[in-house]
Symmetry: C2
């Protein structure tokens, strides 16, 4: 699909003083430069290096039933990314927490997808040197979204393996959460071409890396495993490792081959956007019994249970 537009072909066109915006925006609240704004106002210049060089890091925490889930881990990762990219924001960790809380509180959303972003910004002197840039911090809260819809959560997602290779750590450090997604988008279109709903892509050794916005786990003979390297260290992935450890379910971070997937009893993916989500088909082949497995079900239940646990979650103030 593409945007409608008209192009004047003759004569001098008018210059409009202000952009007339006819796009739709989700309900939510954003924060930029000390201002809380409706989502329609949350925009960056096309000259921001966050766009022009994808020179940015971010994190997404979710709110469920009025509580942040594991906010501390998301903040750790975000500030770690800032440091590695040599960016800085004029907000402390506590101030970022306040901003995120206020975006959610003002939005009124009981379940929300909350993103904090730092872009390189741009240079006020228009130089090409990133050291001259004024880094830009943005945050917003919009309604919660999920990789899998209700039906898919019940019957399991159908995924396809793409031969696209995840951008390797020698190029981009995957512990810096980043927007370099063209490999994942290519994988997604490859998956759609195979009538699947989402994709898994490979690492340089031909093992499974991850999918667009999620990590992957395989279960075989009661043993849970997930790729050890070349992947984003996801917070939901971390949560599954923690829950397995608590419940004494054997779990390992190790290479997961394509054959490991096809031979698995159960497969699931993990993402802040949806939590623990079952996979029941890979490349149109049924996995295990073909329905959502018992360990997957247990982990889904345990994951959602912890959303009301004060050790894993923090309440939002809705300024009622």
């Amino acid at each position: 699909m593409s945007n409608a537009s008209t192009v004047p072909t003759v004569g001098r066109p008018e210059i409009a003083a202000q952009y007339e915006d006819n796009s739709r925006y989700p309900s939510g609240i954003a924060y930029m430069d000390g201002q809380y704004l409706p989502m329609s106002q949350a925009k960056i210049s096309v000259l921001d290096w966050g766009l022009l060089h994808s020179d940015a890091t971010y994190d997404t925490v979710h709110v469920w039933d009025g509580r942040f889930f594991r906010l501390d881990l998301h903040l750790d990762r975000f500030f770690n990314g800032l440091e590695k990219l040599r960016m800085s924001i004029n907000l402390s960790r506590e101030e970022v927490t306040t901003v995120l809380q206020n975006c959610v509180g003002l939005s009124g959303h009981r379940s929300a997808y909350v993103e904090m972003i730092c872009t390189r910004g741009s240079s006020p002197t228009f130089s090409r040197d990133p050291r001259d840039a004024i880094n830009r911090f943005i945050a917003f809260a919009i309604p919660f979204g999920s990789v899998a819809n209700a039906e898919q959560l019940k019957r399991g997602l159908h995924v396809a393996i793409s031969s696209t290779v995840r951008i390797p750590p020698a190029s981009v450090d995957p512990t810096i959460k980043n927007y370099h997604w063209l490999d994942l988008v290519k994988g997604l279109y490859d998956a759609y071409d195979q009538k699947a709903e989402t994709a898994l892509i490979l690492d340089f050794e031909g093992n499974i890396a991850e999918g667009p916005g999620f990590n992957v786990f395989a279960v075989r003979g009661g043993q849970v495993s997930t790729p050890a390297k070349n992947v984003l260290p996801g917070i939901t992935r971390r949560s599954v490792l923690d829950i397995c450890s608590e419940l004494q379910i054997p779990v390992a971070e190790k290479a997961v081959s394509q054959d490991d997937l096809f031979g698995a009893d159960e497969i699931f993916i993990t993402s802040t956007a949806g939590g623990v989500m079952p996979v029941t088909k890979v490349n149109e082949r049924s996995i295990g019994t073909g329905s959502v497995g018992e360990i997957t079900k247990t982990l889904m239940d345990e994951y959602w249970k912890r959303h009301s646990d004060p050790k894993w979650s923090t309440p939002i103030s809705y300024f009622s």
Copy 2:
């Protein structure tokens, strides 16, 4: 550097109806959705997948002395990128040409940096499926910029080789001009740490790939060479190959090792942002005689001469 901001820490903050923007923008004209706008109005939503997934392609053509340089080649590459990313815009090649011409004409810039962008956009139903997205076309013309300043053009740039590896073609097709620059930005900071002015980064075989926004050439014994693969097929690179061919200067696209650079008589880089630009130091070692070489000078001269050649350039209408 980071942006100034204040965070309310107590009570319910106000929601502003409109973002108050105190940033500076370069002089220029942008185009979005049929509207010509000052650069301060050229913004995209933080929810656009062009930002959130760097799911975008673009091209940059320059205008010199009132004429586009090799616009056709830039349009070829842009439309090729759109097709490979399965994006579409509602503008024909002729209409895009008109838009670019009008942005420059309205800006009044005799020398300009002209960018055309297509982002994935976003889904009007807020789905996560890129096939649902309304792709967004944006163009703008701002003052011409160069990788090298006047002094650097005269004495040659000082570059450093970073061990960062350029994102490989198995991950992202380099013939789709894209914004995945975190590897190049890392290289740039590595170079700054070594007191150099810009960077070269490697390919997976340890050969030289390219730098932030430019291709690289080495000259030895009258033979010109440039990396054959793992690089953006730059239009300035293409122009140098064409000029060498016309002038019967021997030239080859082939692997260029780090030793090839240190042993070169001359090195130069090529970019739309500056043309053919000499390099006289690599990792603080002088290259050749330590000053700008004869073949480099010839290619710089020939490159700029062609900017008035109707076979290589197209005049702008300034609506005078």
